[in-house]
Every structure is written in structure tokens, then in C-alpha cells.
Symmetry: C2
Subunit: 148 residues, 2 copies
Amino acid sequence: MRAADLAAPFPTVRRDTPAIEAARLLAGQDLPGLIVLDGNGYPATVLAGTQVLRMAIPQYCQDDPTLARVIDEQAADLFLRELGDRTVAQALPEHGRGLAVVAADATVLEIAALMARTGNPLVAVIDKHKQLLGAVTLDALLDRLLLE
Amino acid sequence: MRAADLAAPFPTVRRDTPAIEAARLLAGQDLPGLIVLDGNGYPATVLAGTQVLRMAIPQYCQDDPTLARVIDEQAADLFLRELGDRTVAQALPEHGRGLAVVAADATVLEIAALMARTGNPLVAVIDKHKQLLGAVTLDALLDRLLLE
């Protein structure tokens, strides 16, 4: 089994997509993450869902989540407003743990090793022209290996 | 909105649950992760789905996923057999990025900050006796904040 056999269509966003729109896409379709395309339609990066969420969170709370306790409940309920006019580009991690992208002929072990290393349950599959073929999610991978 | 308002029932495993059974639970119910209870029924840890997967992956592939390429396709298809007789306890990360557990009165911002920091789309909610009340998934959190 190769990545091309597992790759399924997956929604994409662009670097200039508003972050709030990306969050709505994630929520509305229960996606494990998002594939971000660059201007040429190539997968520029693959964001795990928690990385999209991170955009909305004040830096001091990211460093120490217990500090979020100083924000009262009413204000906390509205924290996603912090996304404001920010774009997906501003959510991109500065220091990635490796780009979650594989070639069409990658084996299931290569895909799994990449998910384990990046902590990202979503991997983009590209063809030889670096165009997006589709995505493999952790769910899809495990389903194929364990349930069929 | 507090953690107790968001907490929903969630399957749990124990430290001595076979890892392969944990993987089947993840796959069968499309879970974002697993809550591991200790002998007293307290959440001992919360594993992201990719951490469960990591158990099955040879160490050299974890360090460098491209090395997985040396394994041929037929052998790669069977990599989950590496789980063998291992238990969930053997999958527990040695150096966690913070335990994904919150108290019942945690705000949505506290939950979100914890997800962002740990990279884990699953948070366990405990009561004052440290018993599991339920879980909040990233999907559930975003649904409540964005779609209702």
C-alpha cells in the first residue's frame, strides 16, 4: 500500500485565508488539521488542528496555560475573537517539526513515522510535480490497517 | 462556559491495555486520542492519536522518518504488528509537554491554551476527587464556540 492508494480529497486553505475562516472549516467538517497551499498550489505546510487554535491564544497563556485562569469566564468565552483579521500565514509555526508531506509512493510506515514525529494526524500527499494528490488522516490510516 | 459544561463521555483505557486494542479503539471510533486511567480510576495521562501510533514505529524511523524508506512495501504494510504484546504503559511519553487534564471549572481559554501547548486535541476533565468527568475534544470546543 502506498500513499497514492490512501490519499483522499481534503479541503485546503491559502496563506491569506482568514484564520477565523480556517477555524470554521476545521470545526464544520471535524477535520484533524488543514493543508495550506502556496501561490503555486503546492502544499506549503500542514497545520494540525491545535496549531490553528494556537493563533487565538495570547502568548503568555501559550507559555503557561494556567495563566489563562486570570481571564474571567465571559472574556474567555470570546477568545476566538482574538483571531480578528489574522491570516493563516500568521499561524504558521516558526520552527516546524518537519513538514507533513509525502510523495505518492511513500509506504504506510513512512506516513506513520511522519505522523509520529510531527505529532500531526494529517499528511499531505503530492505527485511528482509537487501538486496535491490528497491527504491521509490518522483515522484513515488506522482504518485501512486495522479494520479492513 | 466551563469544562464541566463541555465534558462528554469518552472511552478510556488502562495502563495494561494492549496497545493494539488501544489502536483499534482509536480507529473504530475515530477518536482524536485516548484517556489512560491509573489503578484508582484517575486519568494518568492523555495520549494524542499520533502518540499511540508512535508505539508501533521502530526508533530509527521515529528519529528520521525518511529511513522508513528502507523497509519494503510488504513489510511496511504490516508495521502495526510491531505493537505485539506491548501495553499502553509502554507508549507513555517519557517527557510530556504537560498533562492534558483540567478541573471542572476551567474556562474554554484554559482548555484551548492547554491543547495548543500540548499539541493534543483531547483534554480530560476531572472533578474535585480527581475522577474523570468526561473529555473535551478540539472538535467539540470549536463547534461550541463557532457553530452554535
